[in-house]
């Protein structure tokens, strides 16, 4: 890959449902071969944004290109090269796994379909369920079927809406390995997720809250931008302690992590002033690097205030 080419390049994308603006003037640029994580609280407009990209919804304002084609007028040119995995299972429950894959393959005109489907089933370990009706699969296996279906036609852009929701850790790891392999061959992926470990596996991230794009960059950039100071507290009685700390000035968020309490705030001095009275036996306070999770929760709180 030489100079990075934008695969998604949109400006001011807006969607209004009734009197509610669900996506507000969103700008986004995703380069070829990038794995782009798209995060945000429930109902923030992620699914809506993806639907606008692949022509399922008409933007009320804004414009842009997807794979070099105009998203408003050249949908027909875009669709053959996209693999869209919907958030809600959207394959035929009254068809078997294999029949679903064959249908999708025929629609996209996958060459040598029988072999492609067999390979896909093998790769996703779907063999055991090949002849089972999709409707009778467990949630995780439905996800895997949907994933297989959206990669079957070797799309150039993957739009994956919570692809790993309800998938076990092993399968999630397999999935991410697969996505990275594809990305290495030049496939671009836009992935929404609520898992922090998955966010960390993306090349770049965007955070959207209630329609507004609040942050955009690599994980390190986002952490640096947030300028959060975080302390880990350990010792007895963490739960009531957390409740008390929350009320104090400078403390933006408190969360329990196993036997630790993470306390963070944007205003470092105020935070340290508030924590000082508690820094005594039996409690131990440690400054730790801020994680993405704290950054996102912080962004979400800001979004809510805005």
């Amino acid at each position: 890959m030489n100079a990075p080419q934008p695969v998604i390049d949109v400006r001011g994308l807006t969607k209004i449902f009734g009197d509610k603006t669900v996506v507000k003037g969103l700008d986004m640029r995703v380069n070829q071969g990038e794995i782009f994580g798209f995060l945000g609280p429930n109902g923030s407009g992620k699914t809506t944004f993806i639907r606008m990209l692949c022509g399922l919804l008409k933007p009320d304002a804004g414009s842009g290109t997807c794979l070099g084609f105009d998203i408003a007028s050249q949908n027909d040119r875009i669709k053959p090269h996209i693999g869209y995995m919907t958030q809600r299972f959207s394959h035929y429950e009254d068809l078997t796994v294999r029949e679903n894959l064959l249908f999708i393959g025929r629609i996209y005109g996958v060459p040598d379909l029988d072999r492609a489907v067999a390979a896909c089933i093998e790769r996703m370990s779907l063999g055991r369920y090949e002849h089972q009706l999709a409707g009778s699969l467990s949630g995780g296996w439905k996800q895997r079927l949907a994933l297989s279906a959206c990669t079957l036609h070797s799309p150039r852009l993957l739009l994956l809406d919570e692809p790993t929701a309800g998938v076990d850790p092993g399968a999630r790891r397999d999935f991410w390995d697969e996505v990275h392999k594809l990305a290495a061959t030049g496939v671009t992926a836009l992935i929404t997720t609520h898992y922090m470990d998955e966010a960390e596996r993306c090349h770049r991230l965007a955070y959207i809250a209630y329609g507004d794009l609040l942050a955009d960059g690599t994980a390190e950039e986002l952490i640096a931008q947030a300028q959060l100071l975080t302390y880990a507290v350990s010792g007895p009685g963490l739960s009531p302690l957390g409740e008390r700390l929350k009320e104090l000035p400078g403390v933006d968020q408190v969360a329990v992590f196993g036997t630790n309490l993470h306390v963070s705030g944007r205003d470092g001095e105020a935070l340290e002033r508030s924590l000082a009275p508690f820094m005594a036996e039996p409690l131990t306070f440690r400054r730790i690097p801020t994680t993405l999770e704290e950054v996102f929760i912080n962004l979400m709180q800001q979004g809510r205030k805005a």
Partner: protein, 380 residues
């Protein structure tokens, strides 16, 4: 893989194959599609009577006496007959009757007036297209009464001496095509069209809304598949269902109701494809408009009502007010009823049938165009 566009044979085949598998899996619906027509056939297989007026009538007259004029005037006054035209040859009259332009042909013989005056009892012949006996029976009754009155009055006035209790003419009535005037002969072939209308419109009306409700539409719309491929692909498997229903009804018609079948079965089978396709496409068009399956169902029933009432199935077409006839003529069933009755009861051939075929083709085409226009390409 760059074969995009309005229609791709490959994608179309994919949709058809998928629909066939889904249809096969949906056993209950399939069973209902087969059992329902038979039940309706038995339930509806009885006469529904009615009293249409202003039936088109042709007069074949070789007489210009006062009597022939008062006979036609009396017929007109009875309101049952509209004298369309006066023809001069037998061939013309027969043609009008066969094509259905005229429901009746009245033949007034030569020297009708003179013969009456001489007391020779001339024959006054009324031929009726009795394919639909409910349409003609009342008119025939009114005819006898009207002629008797008219002649009595004329004779009592000017020629008092000839007035008698006896009829001055010999009235003959020929019911063509269904001489015994058995209503079931008419109803049962009509039922075939009605049942096909109901089941076929309904089955496809549900087809696309079902995809929307189950969420599969979101996936389908993100693929390169085109509206036309989806629409026609969904219709094709159900054409087969339509034919299965048709066969069942035809068998019942023949063996349960003993309706005679004159025409060619090959003809009726091959021409029915248009009617079946038209109904299925109308159903698909409904489902592109409806937001959910309930709405789609309501629309089909909304469509079924006029199909029952305004097509000549329940009430004779010509007995309906003009506006209703206009509405009726844009419903495929109207033309199909004429086609089926024509073939089964009159033994119509291809040539006579074509007059009923092209309106169905037109309706089908219109439905395809509308469906493609209304098909929602987005989830908005």
């Amino acid at each position: 893989m760059n074969a995009s566009g309005v229609f791709s044979w490959r994608r179309f085949k994919a949709v058809v194959a998928k629909e066939f598998v889904q249809m096969r899996r949906d056993r209950l619906t399939f069973a209902m599609l087969v059992v329902m027509p038979l039940m309706q056939l038995v339930l509806f297989g009885y006469a529904i009577n009615s009293d249409p007026r202003h039936l088109p009538t042709a007069v074949l007259s070789a007489d210009n006496s006062i009597f022939s004029r008062s006979v036609t005037a009396a017929m007109r006054n009875s309101e049952y007959f509209d004298i369309l035209r006066v023809v001069t040859t037998r061939a013309e009259a027969e043609d009008l009757l066969r094509t259905g332009t005229a429901q009746f042909v009245l033949t007034i013989p030569e020297d009708f007036g003179t013969k009456i005056l001489r007391g020779e009892k001339p024959v006054l012949l009324l031929e009726a297209d009795a394919t639909d006996p409910s349409a003609t029976s009342n008119a025939v009754g009114a005819f006898k009464e009207a002629v008797r009155r008219a002649l009595d009055r004329d004779l009592a006035g000017a020629f008092g001496n000839l007035a008698s209790s006896d009829m001055a003419v010999d009235l003959r009535i020929h019911a063509e095509y269904n001489p015994e005037a058995i209503t079931q002969y008419n109803i049962v072939p009509g039922l075939m069209g009605t049942i096909l209308t109901l089941t076929l419109v309904m089955i496809t009306a549900l087809a696309i809304t079902r995809e929307t409700e189950r969420g599969t539409m979101e996936n389908l719309l993100s693929t390169p598949v085109s509206p036309l491929e989806v629409m026609i692909g969904k219709i094709l498997p159900y054409i087969l269902v339509g034919y299965i229903q048709m066969t069942l009804i035809m068998l019942a018609t023949r063996f349960l109701f003993n309706v005679p079948m004159h025409g060619s079965l090959v003809l009726i089978y091959s021409l029915s494809v248009l009617f079946i396709a038209a109904n299925l496409t109308i159903g698909v068009t409904f489902s592109t408009l409806a937001r959910n399956q309930l709405q789609a169902l309501q629309m089909s029933i909304f469509f079924f009502m006029p199909s029952m009432l305004l097509t000549g199935f329940m009430f004779p077409f010509r007995g309906m007010p003009a506006w209703a006839q206009v509405v009726g003529s844009i419903l495929p069933l109207t033309h199909y009823l004429r086609l089926v009755r024509g073939i089964l009861l009159k033994g119509d051939g291809l040539e006579q049938s074509l007059t009923h075929v092209w309106p169905m083709a037109l309706i089908w085409l219109a439905a395809v165009v509308l469906g493609t226009i209304f098909f929602r390409r987005t989830l908005d």
